[in-house]
């Protein structure tokens, strides 16, 4: 398989800030990569470089096989960009917006019109198609903006925080649309602050902070990086704590965590369901009453916090540096 998006050592410095500090990316054809990071991590800068809106200070990037520096126009002809702010003209109708984009891609009048109608249908905007987009809801505007990026049916789509600012229902709607695009074979890079979004949509995730990748892999791989699963127990009586800690200690990797209230216990385990059963049986045998018990996999939130929460520490930085050294 070939990489439809490929970037090596991208560096972009502003006066005081280093927005990108040597970012490497690769998105194989037909796959979805989520660039996950907090505000100011460098996600948008990366998008701007890949979409030719910004020239990197160092590094190279190819999109759909075309060098972003050498042939920016060639890149633009092969990408669709949907930005953080729905970039639609509010005085134009939905139809006019899409038709204009088609004309500017060089599709010609009749093809642009046909394509505009097709996309309005697909994005459930037919009824609103002849209204100025000023009258649209936030979700509709985003859909129109996304439709705009698809006008020329580009092989590569780049979506910068496609659901930021949307209400939960519109967000789920947007996810469905994005999934459909990928089923049609598009290669997609999306940035997001939402772990859930990355988890749901992406084949691969790159966690980015301070302009560099601090972790990458599938959602599952990232989750397993923060250690295995946890057994969580909520006791009915705090007085049972000591006995319960002893039980959990027998299967736990490392310390058993106890909460202030003395009833919530957590233990990292490496035996999965077997460990859970063992704990359950022990609790039963000793007659300890529990309100809740479960095996929980670490969420991406856990991963994210453990990665970026300590990003300022020497340790993490050195690891990242070493990882990047290995790339060169």
């Amino acid at each position: 398989m070939v990489d439809m998006i490929q970037a090596h050592g991208l560096v972009k410095r502003y006066k005081e800030v280093t927005a990108l500090a040597g970012l490497d990316l690769a998105v194989p054809e037909g796959q979805v990569l989520a660039l996950l990071g907090p505000n100011g991590a460098g996600k948008t800068t990366a998008v701007r470089v890949l979409t030719t809106l910004l020239k990197p200070d160092e590094g190279t990037a190819h999109v759909a096989g075309v060098d972003v520096r050498a042939d920016p126009d060639g890149v633009r002809a092969r990408i669709g960009l949907s930005g953080q702010y729905a970039a639609v003209d509010e005085h134009l109708t939905g139809f006019e917006n899409l038709e204009m984009v088609g004309r500017l891609y060089g599709l010609g009048r009749s093809r642009s019109r046909a394509r505009a109608r097709e996309l309005l249908e697909r994005f459930d905007l037919v009824d609103a198609g002849d209204r100025p987009s000023k009258t649209y809801s936030g979700g509709m505007r985003r859909r129109l903006d996304l439709a705009g990026s698809l006008v020329a049916a580009p092989p590569v789509l780049i979506l910068d925080e496609p659901t930021t600012g949307l209400d939960p229902r519109s967000r789920v709607g947007m996810w469905d649309v994005i999934r459909e695009l990928v089923r049609d074979g598009a290669t997609l890079l999306l940035t997001t602050q939402y772990l859930e979004e990355a988890d749901r949509l992406a084949d691969d995730i790159v966690v980015i902070d301070h302009g560099r990748a601090i972790a990458r892999g599938t959602a599952d791989e990232l989750k397993s990086q923060t250690g295995g699963e946890r057994v969580e127990v909520v006791l009915a009586h705090a007085s049972d704590r000591e006995a319960a800690v002893r039980l959990l200690g027998a299967v736990a990797v490392g310390e058993v965590g106890t909460a202030e209230n003395g009833r919530d216990l957590t233990a990292a385990v490496d035996g999965g369901v077997r460990s859970l059963r063992h704990v359950l049986e022990g609790l039963e045998a000793e007659g300890l009453e529990v309100l809740d018990i479960g095996l929980r996999r670490p969420t991406l939130d856990d991963v994210f916090l453990s990665l970026t929460g300590h990003a300022a520490e020497k340790d993490t930085d050195e690891n990242t540096d070493a990882a990047e050294e290995a790339l060169r």
């Binding site: 701007r48 930005g83 984009v101 500017l104 972790a215 791989e221």
Partner: protein
């Protein structure tokens, strides 16, 4: 060189690049700048239909200006000679209005920058000059509409075209051309300072003195010393003088001013147009290429 961190998903990434997918061929350079420019211009012109405020600015305010000056200052200012103030005034109103109309360019681009539409345009395989060509072109259309309305209002209050129709057309063309050049200056400013409020205030500060310290509203004879020199060489004065001459609104008994700019006002104005375009078209186009919201 590998593209992934060891130990993660290395096997999925081959590092190979695809053959570039075929895309439609597009004409190059000027043709594309003009066709794409016209597409963008049409987009800007839709606004006049859909945004009532624009209609007011383009159509109503020129009428107001003509009536205001004709009836408020009409009695107080003597333009020396037989030509009445209203006749004298119209050339100045024309000049002032088209120059103000040009500030639209800056505000419009600033607004597009703020709303992210410029990013959309810049990510499309369109001519880079087209957004600026489109914007400046649509502003010429706005100015043309303003001129037509002002001319009609002028005719109602006593202004007359006393030279030939051809000269009059040249007069209108010169006014639009000068405004077009100013549009490119404002385009640069709009890309540099993408804030509609700042643009509007800044252009007010520059354009008010430029139009009022000129012969647009008061005769040249009312200025002395340094101020008179400024008025003489102010391009807005030349533009005003040129349109008065081309419309035949200059009294034959008025002494010819003692400056080359006033003796050859059309040529002097054209010189400014060429100079401004030569500087600001490349400057604005370059600024557009690297502009970011």
């Amino acid at each position: 060189m590998s593209t992934t961190t060891p130990g993660t998903t290395g096997e999925a990434h081959t590092g190979r690049l695809p053959e570039p997918t075929p895309v439609p061929e597009r004409p190059n350079g000027l043709v594309r700048a003009l066709t794409d420019g016209w597409i963008v211009a049409k987009r800007n012109l839709v606004k006049i239909k859909r945004v009532p405020e624009v209609l007011v600015f383009v159509l109503i305010s020129p009428i107001m200006f003509v009536l205001l000056f004709a009836f408020v200052f009409g009695g107080a200012i003597d333009p020396e000679g037989a030509v009445g103030y209203r006749e004298f005034l119209i050339g100045g109103i024309f000049a002032q209005t088209v120059v103000f109309g040009a500030t639209f360019t800056g505000a419009g681009l600033a607004e597009d920058m703020q709303k992210g539409i410029i990013d959309r345009f810049r990510s499309l395989p369109m001519s880079h000059a087209a957004v600026l060509v489109g914007r400046t072109t649509s502003d010429v259309v706005y100015n043309l509409l303003s001129l037509i309305i002002m001319a009609l209002t002028g005719l109602l209050v006593g202004w007359r075209i006393r030279e030939g129709a051809f000269d009059a057309l040249l007069g209108f063309a010169l006014l639009l051309l000068f405004a077009y050049a100013i549009s490119w200056v404002m385009a640069y400013v709009g890309l540099l300072v993408p804030s509609v409020e700042v643009i509007n205030n800044a252009s007010f500060i520059v354009i008010m003195p430029l139009t009022f310290v000129s012969n647009a509203f008061v005769p040249l004879s009312s200025f002395d010393g340094v101020l008179r020199q400024f008025v003489l060489w102010n391009p807005v004065s030349a533009l005003t003088q040129a349109s008065r001459e081309l419309f035949g609104n200059v009294d034959p008994s008025t002494p010819v001013p003692d400056a080359w700019s006033m003796q050859h006002p059309a040529l002097y104005t054209l010189g400014w147009v060429v100079l401004i375009l030569a500087v600001f078209v490349p400057l604005s186009t370059r600024q557009f290429a690297r502009a970011s919201a």
